[in-house]
Symmetry: C2
Subunit: 316 residues, 2 copies
């Protein structure tokens, strides 16, 4: 009877078989949606012997109540000392500042990773900080998990289920433009990190920081800018309380969903991936102009069909 | 026992009390998603004594099997004769052609309506066709119901549940720019149509054809053009099979959803609401350019917050 009950509770916790311990002690710095969810997911997967956290005291207390953390400290250096894996779960610029602060306290062989939405500025900071050792000490990362909500109160153990988690090995620091296949072997701690991410349900993809930022400008930052600019266009033409705005297709809400995202996070993304985003926006402005010029002309239909095929292919 | 069973089946069919008959005979011309769903919804609501349909024979047969129609004909004039309400459920240009064709067969006091996505060209055609009698004979309409799927096979009785159904009374035909409050009283057949739409769960909103088309350019046509132009921008920068496209946030699929819409329908919308859509696109292009120019500057944050407030307000 008791073994049956055990099997059932394993199913409830995600249907995973018990995992071996991959990380002796993980330090999660930043206890918001990303950090809190990572702690809960690592706990659920049972791959970390100890999970420690750093954030404001109220968040540490709440995370401990949620069962996400074994212990915590408001001092980042304190949680880093003795950890084999350090995950910076803060916006890009904050993570860069924290990396500099914790570097002297990092245990030998330990790895620092992050969850920032852009990778080149973090990668460049790591190279500057660690020099020839950067590729061993730092393995930048970016989980592509939903983020309209923020804060520890929205953290869930399944946030990363099935998501793509990009890792961008640094390679030779002089050459961050290089292809991921040129990258050196991962260290033991980096391999353990990768396995732990797969154990929590993520699909790990390796690429370079430069390629990551170029691709994301189109596949994530551009969609966000569109939704925000659509809201601005509507705000320019209608008062928010205008009853005319009740007359809309379901598509309007769909297209405005992303506009509700956190401005602070996007301010940092916009600043750290400025050039790629500007280029994607220029292409988009041209596409809109061409579509406008084709209204009522035969090429409108052809454009519409091309777009439909592409969208269908991506969906499939 | 049998009365209890009856009550239960009434609940299953939408929880509505039995309705009185509002329409003696409704002719639905065009048996796709919109027409098929309307027939099923009228049947469910029990407000039409007889529902007849016009379309290709295979669709008539299928609609009869679905219980949507009492009878049908491939000849539009045949279903119109003897009907007190005629609903044109085809794209705008087709509906205009059909209206001309059926006009001589319309019963005295009967009303023609449509479900077209733009209203000014249909309204103008009605005025030209019926002259001084246009406002009595034709009451253009537009249900704002989801439409990425098309075809009778996707028709459901609940498509219009809770949707806004815009009606644009013609008023004096010389003055289609006028406000809906200037419009003359609805005829008996038009009032019956309005009540029947409310009985199937739609929320009827009255406005002018010009205001409808201006508003929809921003709240429906612009979101569609954005999604299509986003797909075109991606297609220009990536092959559809490029593995890089696996690296995206959930936002990409959200923003590409509308790009899967029916090109034929949108070709007609683009042609019939050309000027309003072009203006909305110009505003959008300017908003994107301004957002691009603010990347990394202080006003970026302010723009982002303004957009977020507006989107939040609309959602609430």
């Amino acid at each position: 009877m008791s073994s049956e009950a055990g099997a059932e509770s394993a199913n409830l916790s995600g249907g995973r078989a018990p995992e071996r311990i991959l990380l002796r002690r993980v330090a999660i710095i930043g206890l918001g949606l990303m950090g809190g969810s990572l702690a809960l997911a690592l706990r659920r997967a049972g791959v970390a012997a100890q999970i420690v956290g750093c954030g404001r005291q109220v968040l540490i207390d709440r995370a401990r109540e949620m069962g996400a953390l074994d212990s915590g400290s408001t001092d980042a250096c304190e949680v880093v000392a003795g950890s084999d894996c350090v995950v910076l779960c803060t916006p890009v610029e904050t993570s860069i500042a924290l990396m500099k602060q914790i570097a002297p306290h990092l245990a030998p062989g330990a790895v620092i990773t992050d969850v920032g939405s852009t990778k080149q500025s973090f990668a460049a900071a790591a190279c500057e900080l660690f020099g020839a050792e950067a590729a061993q000490r730092v393995l930048p990362g970016h989980p592509l998990a939903g983020r309209e909500l923020s804060g520890l109160e929205h953290a869930t153990a399944d946030l990363y289920d099935g998501c793509v988690w990009v890792l961008t090995p640094l390679g030779q620091c002089a050459k961050t433009e290089g292809n991921a296949t040129d990258q050196p072997e991962l260290t033991a701690a980096q391999r353990a990190l990768r396995l732990a991410l797969e154990a929590i349900g993520a699909r790990v993809v390796l690429t370079s920081a430069a390629e990551h930022d170029r691709v994301l400008a189109y596949t994530s930052h551009l969609p966000q800018m569109l939704s925000t600019a659509l809201a601005l266009t509507l705000a320019e033409n209608f008062a928010a309380a205008d009853p005319a705005l009740e007359i809309h297709g379901g598509g309007l809400r769909t297209m405005l969903r992303l506009a509700g995202s956190e401005p602070k996070m996007w301010e940092q993304i916009a600043a750290s991936n400025h050039e790629n985003i500007a280029q994607a926006l220029e292409h988009m402005e041209a596409a809109l102009r061409q579509l406008r010029e084709s209204l009522g002309a035969p090429e409108f239909r052809a454009k519409f069909e091309q777009a439909r095929e592409f969208a269908k292919f991506l969906k499939g």
